[in-house]
């Protein structure tokens, strides 16, 4: 099918190394995750890099997976929303989103959370809500859960900084 080509790539997804035989060069990372690997936590809102719903981490950096061709990512390490929690233990950002009601319909939420995780780990968040609002502005939430999102990122950032201090001590 597709262009009758076969291209094998290797990806580490949520810690699991996978060899993927791609039969089509047009497949985006987003469609690979959703339609071929059935990792549907990552959402498609626009397919154009305009909404952030498809945000995942590639080698630790936030990207819009709808804009990345899967074939170009051979060897990459990918973290999706499914890979954040440790068993039943939620990642602090996930827990903070629940506590602060940082979502309504939940459709933008995987992207929001991945963006938040990315920007916190980049050391970018700080404790200035204004800056967090700016940095989280690549992720649209049509429900308008922004107040809760900002509060959640602030709290998770504090929580994670605290853990890091504890771990360092």
């Amino acid at each position: 099918m597709g262009y009758h080509m076969s291209l094998s790539i290797s990806l580490t997804i949520n810690g699991l190394k996978r060899e993927i035989a791609l039969d089509d060069p047009r497949v985006t990372l987003l469609d690979l995750l959703r339609e071929r690997l059935h990792l549907t936590g990552t959402k498609k809102g626009c397919d154009r890099g305009q909404c952030g719903a498809c945000t995942v981490l590639v080698d630790g950096r936030r990207i819009n997976s709808c804009l990345a061709l899967a074939a170009s990512l051979d060897g990459a390490e990918i973290t999706t929303i499914e890979g954040l929690a440790d068993g039943e233990d939620l990642h602090p950002v996930q827990a903070a989103f629940i506590a602060h009601d940082g979502f309504q319909c939940g459709y933008c939420t995987p992207g929001q959370i991945m963006s938040a995780v990315g920007l916190i780990s980049e050391g970018n968040a700080g404790d200035d809500p204004e800056r967090i609002r700016e940095l989280m502005s690549g992720n649209i939430c049509r429900c308008g859960a922004y107040q809760g999102i900002t509060e959640a990122v602030l709290e998770a950032q504090k929580d994670l900084a605290e853990r890091n201090r504890r771990d360092a001590a």
Binding site: R26, R48, C105, C108, M136, C141
Partner: protein, 756 residues
């Protein structure tokens, strides 16, 4: 931020009830881990992908499609065009009762708007279907697009919105205007807006003989089953719709649309499951929008600043082939007292997809104009805008004279003004600046939304282990139904929410009514409440008739349900657990049911609305005209609050939609082609996080003994109303410029003489 703990009202409350508590969402973990399943997340075996090809012209005919090229593309399985589209059992050019629209499902080669489906390509992969659709290379016979006032066709509508009269009159409007010492008259324009729920409309359909299972986001499960059954010529019970999570709806997932019907049809034709998801651009056409309006208001005012006349006219757009007109002028009916009120609507046909209900239909656009007009009238009278509204406070519903079922609007005004710090506001515009020299303005608006109540059914099963199963086919599109409905259910059963399993979001359950019109919590909630009470009554009957029970002989009304036990009302120490009662009766469960609707006698005797007041602060760059909303404070009274955390989120969402209406959103059509030039999420502006200021929502306690037996009103849409006007009025107060066209833009300020 601490959550408001509005205490639930005693007569509605069981001791120890969770209702009224700010519980976090029950679906929270699913949503933050990516495990909540939206329609397009389903992958039945053997799935095919469908992609719609859409028209790029607004009017005309498709004269050629390169079906051969599409079919020749590897992976493409079938191409559906008007030439081979299988028949439907219901004529798509006829409206689907009770309030379905005409749909565009390849019934012929005509094009009636941009982004109308003109073919659908089905393939083994999404990539192949997408490419196949691109290869169709349509040829058109183009007719000029009718896109504006000049080219559109005006008409007198038979009705507006969903079945409302186009004209409502009270008193003599011309006499009222003649009696006025001052008449404020102005024209306002609101733009076309598109719902743009984050989840594009999607469907996964699979047939088994003449039964079909449909995964789709859906706000009206029972109605949709009946409509699909009519289109496909099968009994309604053969249609199963699964809609456990909707990625936002805002009205756009309440009405059937062409692409989804075509995908279901393709699945039947090919006898394989088919998945279709609209692209973002394709959501600007076949799935409804908020039509454009031109509104005129005339306000007559007497010496004391009281209205003598309120005349609201609205010209509202619809498609060339169907009608949904924003009931915008009706925004002037419920709010301000006046001896004469007239609301009138006219229609304008354009080459666009048919509009539909979009969050706060009518009231969003209508209150935008009304609240600015009220501000202008206050200004003309030299009155504070809040004082002016208080001078025109309606003690009864203005047009009908009916008493309100409850109305704590005065408290909303007072609390909102206090929290905002309104009392220091100078009357004159352009008088406040911040430390950086930005112009500051304060404005306000009144919020209002009606309280519909939809018929609904529910089933309550008390189980042998003392837990319960509650069932109703409701829809959670983000409002928090899974949580709030469980709280209501638990309260009715005298159980903890953790002990109550709630099944919902699938059409095989008892009909949970419509999730729209801000009426879902009240409608499905009352059904659950009554089903729970029915189950408890049956359980009590078992116990009170059993000589071995400590409740023996207490009689049904002599028994109270609490914390999983029934007690005697006159002696709380005598009682036993649900599990004990069931065990002794040898029962595995006891089932209660309910079928609920609004009591017509109560409804006809009362006017029922949620109310609120919104206060806005904006900052405007004096050189660039850039506008930022700095603060929004809303105070809302909506009857009994089941979950303040979720309700606050609904208010915030509504207020953000209000800010979006005031300053961001507008679909812009190319006048030559009718094509929407910003049909995406980059150029069609919706607020992002940085656009949203500090928000404050105050939950004003309100006891409503009439609206329904659980005292619940709606909260989902009211936040938009009032907010739009409040922001526009704040812009005037900051700059002295009255902008009467939404959204308010930088250039509106820059070209104005007052701004310079």
């Amino acid at each position: 931020m601490p959550l408001e703990t509005t205490s639930p009202l005693p007569q509605h409350r069981r001791h120890g009830s969770s209702a009224g508590q700010p519980l976090t969402r029950r679906d929270g973990v699913l949503k933050v881990t990516g495990r909540a399943t939206y329609a397009a997340d389903n992958h039945p075996d053997g799935i095919l992908y469908a992609v719609t090809a859409v028209s790029s012209i607004a009017r005309g005919r498709v004269t050629a499609l390169d079906v051969e090229a599409a079919k020749a593309h590897p992976g493409v399985v079938e191409v559906l065009t008007p030439a081979n589209r299988p028949p439907l059992a219901h004529d798509p050019d006829e409206k689907m009762p009770p309030f379905g629209f005409r749909v565009e499902v390849l019934q012929d080669d005509t094009v009636r708007y941009v982004n109308q489906p003109i073919a659908i390509v089905i393939a083994e992969t999404l990539e192949a279907a997408t490419e196949g659709a691109a290869l169709l290379n349509p040829v058109y016979e183009v007719e000029p697009a009718r896109t504006d006032l000049e080219s559109g066709k005006r008409f007198d509508p038979e009705g507006i919105g969903i079945g409302a009269p186009a004209r409502t009159a009270h008193g003599d409007i011309e006499a009222g205007l003649a009696a006025a010492v001052r008449v404020t008259e102005a024209d306002y324009v609101t733009p076309p807006q598109y719902h743009n729920a984050m989840e594009p409309h999607a469907v996964v359909a699979q047939w088994d003989g003449d039964r079909v299972t449909i995964d789709m986001p859906n706000q009206t499960l029972a109605l949709s089953c009946a409509s699909y059954a009519a289109y496909f010529g099968i009994p309604a019970e053969n249609v199963l719709i699964r809609s456990p999570f909707l990625g936002g709806g805002f009205g756009s997932k309440a009405i059937l649309n062409g692409p989804q019907i075509l995908a279901i049809l393709a699945a039947r034709m090919l006898n394989r499951p088919v998945k279709l998801a609209l692209t973002r651009a394709q959501m600007y056409g076949p799935v409804g929008h908020r039509g454009r309006t031109w509104q005129k208001l005339r306000l007559g005012v007497d010496e004391e600043g009281r209205l003598t006349a309120l005349h609201h006219q609205a010209l509202c757009t619809t498609s060339s082939f169907d009608e949904f007109l924003e009931p915008a002028a009706n925004a002037s009916l419920p709010l301000y007292a006046s001896p004469a009120i007239l609301a009138e609507h006219e229609g304008l046909r354009l080459d666009v997809g048919t509009p539909g209900p979009m969050r706060a239909p009518g009231l969003a656009s209508g209150s935008a104009a009304l609240e600015v007009a009220m501000d202008e009238a206050a200004e003309a009278c030299g009155m504070d805008p809040l004082d002016f509204r208080l001078a025109n406070y309606a003690e009864t519903e203005p047009v009908t004279g009916k008493p309100f079922s409850s109305k704590a609007l005065r408290e909303c005004y007072a609390e909102g003004a206090k929290r905002f710090g309104w009392s220091g506001r100078p009357l004159a515009p352009r008088t406040m600046r911040d430390e950086n020299g930005f112009l500051i303005g304060w404005g306000m608006g009144t919020a209002v939304f009606h309280c519909p109540h939809f018929p609904a059914e529910a089933r309550a099963t008390l189980r042998a282990d003392g837990t319960a199963l509650m069932e109703t086919a409701g829809a959670d599109m983000g409002q928090g139904a899974w949580t709030a409905l469980a709280q209501i259910a638990a309260e009715a059963l005298g159980l903890d929410p953790d002990q109550v399993e709630l099944h919902s979001g699938i059409s095989s359950l008892p009909d949970g009514g419509i999730a729209g019109g801000s009426g879902h919590t009240a409608s499905a909630g009352l059904a659950l409440h009554n089903a729970g009470e029915d189950a408890i009554a049956r359980l009590a009957e078992l116990a009170t008739n059993d000589p071995a029970s400590p409740l023996f002989g207490a009689g049904n009304i002599g028994v109270v349900a609490r914390s999983g036990r029934l007690h005697r009302r006159d002696d709380e120490s005598r009682g036993e657990s649900y599990a004990e009662i069931l065990a002794r009766a040898g029962r595995s469960d006891v089932v209660g049911t309910a079928k609920t609707a609004r009591d017509p006698a109560v409804a006809s005797a009362h006017a029922m609305y949620s109310h609120g007041a919104v206060f806005a602060e904006v900052k405007v760059d004096p050189d660039l005209g850039q506008i930022r909303v700095a603060r929004l404070v809303g105070a809302f009274a909506a009857g009994r609050i089941i979950n303040p955390r979720l309700v606050r989120s609904q208010y915030f969402g509504g207020m953000i939609w209000g800010a979006s209406f005031a300053l961001h959103e507008e679909a812009i059509a190319d006048r030559r082609t009718g094509r929407i030039m910003n049909a995406d999420l980059a150029e069609y502006h919706v607020p992002v996080n940085a656009d949203v200021p500090s928000l404050d929502a105050i939950l004003i306690p309100e006891d409503d003994p009439h609206v329904n037996p659980i005292g619940v009103k709606g909260v989902g849409e009211i936040g938009i109303t009032g907010t739009v006007g409040a922001i526009a009025n704040a812009v005037w107060h900051a700059t002295g410029v009255r902008v009467r066209r939404f959204p308010v833009r930088v250039e509106d300020l820059l070209i104005s003489r007052e701004f310079a």
